[in-house]
């Protein structure tokens, strides 16, 4: 029981990190980025290929995250060049189109067949009260919490963070104040791209190296982001870990277990129905 819960925590940590990226993108850049996990998967696959070619894990991981950041930056550049004036619906549609393009590129670059996935921290385990805990799970949970905390501090305490918030809330005013909109936007894309690659690297050993299914991890990430109502980073982390935990516990049940990765849908439905009890009118619409 506890064992499977802890296995779920690894997934949970990755969902949380991806979810935080989704929230940051939505808040700072105004894009519901359906391609978030695919960007990470692209980076992760670069790592798998390099590692398979005999390069050590650490430099391979560095190259992979850099690739993800680079791809994200390119997408961000495209988004800010062509869609800076577009509404959220158009931007989200563009994100879906980007996801498809990334998937096609991924299949082309890495082939359709699954890859062998190297463990992040292979074989390092320790036992607490009879429960075996892998170092990977500890890294996943502390890592995602640390990412959320760091981002929160960055956004609330640093000058760049304040500028970013200004940019997201009043883009035109912010630009008139001389805030370099495009540079910051592309920066956010790149940073979340790098974090996504790390998150996918953490979860890949338990999911297998299938490009499509790793890219579809956007669904639990979106569920986590919804738990944070696309605002709160803390709630997103808690939500992501919660979903992972739930999935882990579901493996215990023979009847629910096989369908555990469909659980995010129930979470999404429940959250939406609960959080939108009252009518809200969008000023712009």
């Amino acid at each position: 029981m506890i064992q499977s819960a802890i296995a779920g925590l690894v997934s949970g940590g990755a969902y949380a990190a991806l979810g935080v990226c989704v929230v940051v993108m939505q808040r700072m850049v105004g894009v519901l980025n359906f391609a978030q996990a695919a960007i990470g998967a692209f980076g992760a696959f670069v790592v798998f290929v390099l590692y398979g070619d005999g390069i050590a894990y650490a430099p391979a991981a560095l190259a992979g995250t850099a690739t993800a950041a680079g791809i994200a930056a390119l997408l961000g550049l495209a988004m800010s060049t062509w869609f800076s004036e577009a509404g959220p619906r158009v931007r989200s549609t563009v994100a879906v189109a980007m996801l498809i393009t990334l998937l096609a590129s991924g299949f082309r670059a890495f082939g359709d067949s699954p890859r062998t996935v190297p463990e992040v921290l292979p074989g390092v385990t320790f036992t607490v009260a009879g429960v075996v805990i892998t170092a990977a799970s500890v890294a996943a949970i502390t890592g995602s919490a640390a990412i959320a905390l760091a981002l929160w501090l960055f956004l609330s305490r640093t000058r760049t963070g304040v500028r970013l918030r200004a940019l997201s809330e009043r883009p035109t005013s912010a630009e008139l104040l001389g805030i370099p909109a495009r540079r910051l936007t592309v920066g956010v894309w790149a940073a979340t791209g790098a974090v996504s690659a790390l998150a996918i690297l953490v979860i890949a050993p338990s999911r297998g190296g299938d490009f499509l299914s790793l890219s579809m991890l956007i669904v639990p990430a979106l569920a986590a982001a919804l738990i944070g109502l696309f605002r709160s980073l803390g709630a997103t982390v808690a939500g992501g870990i919660g979903i992972g935990l739930l999935e882990g516990l579901a493996t215990q049940s023979a009847s629910i277990g096989p369908y555990r990765h469909a659980l995010p849908l129930l979470v999404i439905l429940a959250i939406l129905l609960w959080s939108q009890r009252s009518q809200v009118w969008d000023a712009a619409q």
């Binding site: 577009a86 619906r89 549609t93 563009v94 879906v96 189109a97 369908y259 990765h261 995010p264 939108q276």
Partner: protein, 589 residues
């Protein structure tokens, strides 16, 4: 968009070509052409949700899977239901899924809906990969009965289904339901202000779309016989969505193009010995490119071009004034020349005992620490035009928002014709007789002027009444597309629509903003005529004092959320505190 003779001829030609193709194509190409028809139906279903109602749906193939599952199930158990009825039942079975998935939209926000649909696509895929389709374990394939077991007949069935669906949806598109979809896509606020439930409008779009997608699933079951979950994978739904955006699948020709591309592009790539992923790549980039240009999908661009040509022709023929501008009063069409057909026929609605038609009592609205309205009392008597004035930020628009329900949280009470509105959602308030217009243009550009007025009226409206409301304000003719009308006139069309609804009270939020002085003064006189002509009281918000004096008989002044004066226009406008509020304290003292 009206179907003119050349495009009708083209459509007939296309149908004949398809029918002829049935006898010319080899079985391989016939199979692909059948797939194209089925994909076209799915694309059209995306067109409803995305192209018409402006939401993102990423699970259309999952809806199709429901339809396919039902047909496979019928087939496995040999249930004696005619095959075509099975397909129809498959579509109906997908409908509740559409409603369930659209349910979170009941409380608005379109983007969240995209999240739900993707979640559903993945969940459905997990379920199907585990359970698969009925009949897969025993390799019982779906066999349509004779004569449909013949590929040519099945091909004609699928294209026939597509044509039928397209025609029915085109008819629906011109009805109130279709107009409402376009309205909700353009502006949720405007939709609510027309007395339409935003939630129900979105939900209908989702339900109809799921039904259509479900039909396509049933047809696919009959085509391929043995279904696999890969037929309906989430990636397929994503690609379907991108293709639909690229082609403009809310139009039949766009959906047909989508079907042809989806079915034949991979085959073309195979023949060129190119990898098949390239197709998805093309669709992804194609969608981005279409969005970047911002003129809609391929079919929408084509229709725009035709429409512009038609308009140009019409204008050249008429040699007339450019689309809808109020002519200056000197043109001899002043107030007196206004069409008088119904003057006198509709007298002021009698309110028993002189009951105010709008009564606002102790209305307080807070935005955090800011008190936007502070215990405001306001009464609009029947049969007159009241004006509400005040400097910028005084709370005038906030009052309109609160009365019409766009700000649900307030203290105090609001009654229209003696009926309390508190706690009601926007569309219910509107239906109980209070209408509003907006400061910014919120007409629906994809509708014609006449369609807009009919939609706003909220009930069936004879052409004469549409024309009457339009003529009253010198609006462009009913068959003009709103997208071809200038912004000033669009705001008049909005007022005409609100008047056509025959409300008890009409709240006009700066209707003259953006009009030239001559037009503004004409509008003022028309507004003064509204109670006599349309039997409704008016609350006019305006900055232009000449306009206020010309149009209204009572003025209320608001400053910093409080009523500082009210009474006859002349008295109020000379009031010390009013002058001070407008010109600043120093001047008055």
């Amino acid at each position: 968009m009206r179907l003119n003779r050349p495009s009708l001829a083209l459509a007939v030609l296309a149908v004949l070509a398809v029918a002829g193709a049935a006898f010319l194509l080899s079985s391989f190409w016939l199979f692909l052409a059948t797939s194209a028809a089925i994909s076209a139906i799915v694309a059209r279903s995306v067109g409803i949700v995305t192209g018409q109602a402006g939401m993102i749906s990423l699970c259309q193939l999952s809806f199709a899977a429901v339809g396919a599952w039902v047909v496979a199930r019928f087939n496995l158990h040999g249930v004696p239901v005619p095959f075509l009825l099975q397909i129809l039942i498959g579509g109906l079975a997908a409908l509740p899924f559409g409603i369930l998935i659209g349910l979170p939209a009941l409380r608005l926000r379109g983007i969240n809906l995209a999240v739900v649909t993707l979640g559903f696509a993945v969940a459905a895929d997990i379920y199907l990969s585990r359970k698969s389709f009925p009949g897969i374990d025993t390799l019982t394939s779906v066999r349509p009965p004779a004569p449909l077991d013949e590929p040519r007949a099945y091909f004609l069935l699928c294209w026939g289904a597509f044509v039928l669906v397209s025609i029915l949806l085109a008819v629906a598109g011109r009805s109130r339901v279709g107009s409402a979809w376009l309205a909700v896509r353009h502006s949720e606020r405007a939709t609510g202000a027309m007395g339409l439930s935003v939630a129900r409008t979105k939900l209908t779009a989702f339900a109809v779309s799921a039904f259509v997608a479900g039909l396509s699933g049933g047809l696919l079951a009959g085509q391929v016989g043995l279904l696999t979950p890969q037929n309906f994978a989430p990636l397929g739904s994503l690609v379907t969505f991108a293709v639909a955006v690229m082609v403009g699948a809310q139009y039949a020709e766009g959906a047909a193009l989508a079907g042809v591309l989806t079915a034949f592009l991979p085959e073309l790539l195979r023949r060129l010995s190119l990898p098949l992923d390239v197709a998805d790549f093309v669709f992804g980039l194609g969608a981005v490119d279409v969005l970047r240009r911002g003129h809609g999908g391929i079919a929408a661009q084509g229709r725009d071009k035709l429409e512009r040509r038609r308009l140009k022709g019409a204008l050249a023929l008429a040699g007339a004034r450019p689309a809808g501008r109020l002519p200056p009063p000197s043109a001899g069409r002043g107030v007196d020349a206004a069409p008088a057909s119904l003057v006198g026929a509709r007298l002021v609605r009698a309110s028993p005992g002189g009951r105010p038609v709008l009564a606002v009592r102790g209305l307080t609205v807070r935005f955090g620490e800011v008190v936007a309205l502070d215990a405001v009392d306001l009464t609009v008597e029947p049969g007159i035009v009241s004006a509400l004035i005040g400097p910028n930020g005084a709370g005038k628009s906030t009052l309109v928002d609160a009365v019409t329900g766009f700000i649900p949280r307030y203290e105090g009470s609001i009654m229209v014709d003696g009926v309390p509105l508190d706690g009601l959602p926007v569309h219910r308030r509107v239906r109980s007789g209070v209408r509003r217009t907006f400061q910014q243009d919120r007409t629906v550009p994809n509708l014609t002027v006449g369609q807009y007025v009919r939609l706003a009226a909220g009930h069936h409206l004879p052409a004469a009444e549409v024309a009457e409301a339009l003529e009253f304000l010198d609006c462009p003719a009913a068959d003009y597309p709103i997208s071809a009308v200038d912004v000033g006139s669009r705001r008049l069309v909005e007022v005409a629509g609100a008047l056509a609804a025959r409300p008890k009270v009409l709240l006009l939020d700066e209707p003259a903003a953006g009009l030239a002085e001559a037009e503004s003064s004409l509008l003022a006189r028309r507004i003064a005529d509204v109670p006599g002509r349309f039997g409704c009281a008016v609350l006019l918000i305006e900055h232009d004092m000449a306009h206020v004096q010309a149009a209204s008989s009572v003025v209320t002044v608001l400053d910093f959320g409080q009523v500082i004066a009210d009474g006859a226009p002349r008295d109020v406008l000379e009031h010390r505190t009013v002058v001070a509020a407008y010109l600043g304290e120093e001047v008055a003292v």
